[in-house]
């Protein structure tokens, strides 16, 4: 037994230090040197204050802004301190009720919109922090935002199109729009 314990203890200690301290600390040093912006959270600053991360969605509910996807984090939506989805199953009545409530709210906020509602606008994301929406979801909200800002529809449409993130290599992922970046661009329009 002792013959096994000595190598076990020693190897465990040394491999732990190697993989559990040396490796993550070396990775941190290299990441900070090579990609400091990404390594620290792709933060967006304004007037010396952090106003968010490019990668983490925020809750938007005002008429002047594009809205992101429903978020199931608690106690508040888009709580990045505690990520997660609704975990509601597709046949659960609570899920169908939640979708119904989201639908009613959207339809009320977009009285002139005749298109049927894109699915990502009424379903909660997996992380609860999804920073993006589909193009269909962005176009669905155009009229409301244009109206609230007194902005020509064509100009707003162009702004959205300028913010489209396409598929990587034309194949991976989905075309989408980053809601926070789009809204910040909106606020920057004179």
């Amino acid at each position: 037994m002792l013959k096994t314990l000595r190598p076990a203890l020693l190897l465990f200690a040394i491999l732990s230090l190697l993989t559990g301290l040396a490796y993550p600390l070396l990775t941190t040093a290299l990441a900070q040197a090579l990609f400091p912006q990404q390594a620290n959270g792709s933060l967006i600053e304004k007037d010396g204050q952090i106003i968010g991360s490019r990668l983490i969605g925020q809750q938007f509910s005002g008429d002047k802004y594009f809205w992101g996807r429903p978020s199931a984090t608690s106690p508040m939506a888009y709580n990045a301190g505690s990520s997660g989805g609704s975990n509601l199953g597709p046949t659960n009545k609570a899920q169908l009720d939640a979708v119904k409530a989201n639908l009613d709210h959207l339809r009320q906020a977009h009285p002139t919109q005749t298109a049927i509602v894109p699915v990502d606008l009424v379903t909660a994301s997996a992380s609860g922090l999804d920073p993006e929406i589909s193009l269909a979801a962005a176009y669905y909200q155009l009229e409301r935002v244009a109206h609230a800002r007194g902005m020509p529809l064509a100009r707003l449409h162009q702004l959205v199109d300028d913010h489209i993130i396409g598929e990587t290599f034309g194949l991976l992922g989905e075309p989408r729009v980053n809601v926070l970046e789009l809204n910040l661009a909106l606020d920057a329009v004179k």
Partner: protein, 602 residues
């Protein structure tokens, strides 16, 4: 399957094979004790390490010593991870001042990470200090993968050698696999992930001043912090608002890299690979898919190389590929079809150039249906268990696919080492069945398969179904088990079945609505994970020892060739048959019933 879905699957397999082939050459050389290229410089260091630890590098072990060393090493891991969680409040690298984790949760997590399961009852960003994440969890991500690899290399030696009682030196195998294979791959991968946006720092959580004010409700608390109940017995809710967002930080990329490469799957954050800080882009997602399959695929080639017949490795890989690709097709179709009840309400689930459509509950916009379905199948064919979607919100068939893939015993690529050793056991069973059919003594790779090997094979194949079905039966029969259910009806049964399937097969993904961080589930899944891992490893090492000692038989006209299409079909048939016989009744009660309810509108 749409054209983009087919193209993406094709690209994935192409890149995978292109990377796995050269890696298999490297792994073979490392595990046979060579020091190629730059490693010659490290050889003296390695020797010094062995001398300090009292290990004789060239002294090989019989299967019993190998098994004892492995068990002792892994038990030390359990103690270390348990201890770190319990003491983290008093240890450094804890900027958020995370308190000690509860004993039952610590026990569960310790077993979970040591067994390469990485089932998580906790939410990372609200529970674990950076030290626990690094020195506890990251370490086990490496060592549990290296343990699995050591076992499969020992088993391959059993086939490759003859008339020898030795199967290798566990200490040397684990050290070399960790230091020369997992570490360099992880470092490169971690930096690639950081470039894509995965965070890597030791900062305290940051606070952002958000653009808009968020309004929400939260329960009123009394002076002791307990929720106050109103007259109706429900908690009193207060209207609240905030313009701050807490952004979690931490050494994520380094853990993310080995989480994938080691087929571990334990997320730094609660949302795992759905979290934008763990998996920010479609490219990072594609790389994670690749990283999960890379070593399991390469090990198939290593097998071919070490037994001196590369076609043997290709045959095993072909069987895995067929089952994998089929699963991708079913999963993608089920999720793309969406939920009929939503269409009836007037929700647009149709795929178009403007949206992915489909069942988007619990999925991320950047991944849509195609990338998510591919990842879901990859992570459950391999015993990884990382998730880019909340599996609890998958459609019934979309949830059945990952459940059944795990129930096949995690042999479709499977975990690092564990996937191939599981599949080789099925190969032994397949030649045994074929032998019975034609009335010849079964043999595989020149080794006669006899009573002893078949007994051990039976144990390894039966241990996980017994754990899954018995523990599920207990959990649905007692209040403590039923209390965890989040979704009513058939789906609730699926949640429990999925939990024990995932735990016993060392996958680690979850139908996460299940409240599993309770003493009942922490202990029950802990049992499933521990025995699901080590009650397979020990008999497999026994097979390795027994095969190694046998003579090699010459190939003759009566030998069943194990490298052609006939054997591939036989192997797939064996895997599917065993899986179906064990699990069809249970699946019928869960996902199948739910599917019928969904399409009939109930």
């Amino acid at each position: 399957m749409s054209t983009p879905a087919i193209l993406q699957l094709g690209l994935f397999l192409l890149v995978l094979l292109a990377l796995a082939w050269p890696l298999s050459s490297w792994i073979t050389r490392i595990m046979q004790g060579e020091n190629p290229g730059p490693l010659r410089l490290l050889a003296p260091l390695e020797k010094l390490l062995y001398r300090l630890a009292g290990i004789r590098q060239d002294e090989e072990m019989g299967w019993k010593s190998y098994a004892v060393s492995l068990l002792v090493f892994n038990l030390l891991g359990v103690l270390a991870v348990y201890g770190l969680q319990r003491l983290q409040g008093a240890l450094p690298f804890n900027p958020q001042a995370m308190a000690a984790v509860a004993p039952d949760s610590s026990f569960n997590t310790a077993i979970s990470f040591v067994t390469n399961t990485n089932w998580q009852g906790y939410g990372g960003e609200t529970t674990m200090s950076y030290l626990t994440q690094m020195l506890g969890l990251t370490v086990q991500n490496f060592l549990s993968a290296a343990t699995g690899a050591a076992v499969v290399i020992a088993l391959i030696r059993g086939f490759a050698r003859h008339s020898s009682a030795r199967i290798g030196n566990f200490w040397v195998d684990v050290t070399r696999f960790t230091a020369y294979i997992l570490l360099p791959l992880s470092l490169v991968f971690a930096l690639a992930l950081t470039q894509q946006g995965v965070i890597q720092n030791l900062l305290p959580y940051q606070t952002a001043h958000t653009v808009e004010v968020t309004h929400f409700q939260q329960p009123k608390l009394d002076a002791k912090g307990n929720p106050v109940n109103g007259k109706d017995g429900k908690p009193v809710m207060l209207d609240s608002q905030t313009q701050q967002q807490t952004l979690p930080m931490g050494p994520v990329a380094s853990q993310e890299a080995i989480k994938m490469l080691g087929t571990n799957g334990g997320g730094f954050f609660n949302a795992n690979s759905a979290h934008p800080f763990e998996n920010p882009t479609p490219l990072s997602n594609f790389l994670q898919d690749l990283a999960i399959f890379l070593i399991p695929a390469a090990l198939c080639f290593v097998f071919g190389r070490m037994v001196g017949d590369r076609r043997q490795g290709w045959a095993i890989l072909a069987a895995m590929l067929v089952m994998f690709a089929t699963a991708v097709v079913v999963e993608t179709s089920a999720e793309q079809a969406g939920v009929p009840q939503l269409s009836a309400m007037g929700v647009d689930q149709q795929a178009s150039s403007l949206q992915s459509g489909g069942n988007m509950e619990g999925k991320e916009s950047r991944f849509g249906i195609i990338d998510t379905a591919l990842f879901t199948v990859v992570t459950t064919s391999a015993s990884c268990g990382a998730v880019t979607a909340m599996h609890d919100s998958l459609t019934p068939i979309g949830g059945l696919v990952p459940t059944f893939l795990m129930q096949l015993g995690e042999v479709v690529f499977g975990g690092v080492g564990s996937g191939l050793y599981g599949m080789l056991v099925f190969a032994i069973l397949a030649v045994f069945i074929a032998g019975l059919m034609v009335g010849r003594t079964p043999e595989y790779l020149g080794k006669k398969i006899e009573t002893y090997e078949m007994k051990m094979t039976a144990i390894t194949i039966l241990v996980t179904p017994i754990l899954v079905l018995v523990l599920t039966a207990i959990a649905v029969s007692v209040d403590a088990g039923k209390a965890g259910i989040a979704n009513p009806g058939a789906h609730g049964f699926s949640e429990i079945l999925y939990a024990f399937t995932s735990a016993a097969n060392n996958n680690g993904s979850a139908f996460a609505g299940l409240s599993a961080n309770t003493p009942f589930y922490n202990i029950m899944t802990g049992i499933a994970m521990f025995f699901g891992r080590f009650l397979m490893i020990v008999p497999i090492l026994a097979i390795a020892g027994s095969l190694s000692a046998k003579k090699r038989l010459a190939v003759n006209s009566g030998t069943l060739p194990t490298h052609g299409p006939l054997f591939v079909v036989l192997l797939i048939g064996t895997v599917l048959l065993v899986g179906a016989l064990n699990y069809v009744p249970a699946l019928a009660l869960g996902p199948v019933v739910e599917q019928l309810q969904m399409v009939s509108g109930h």
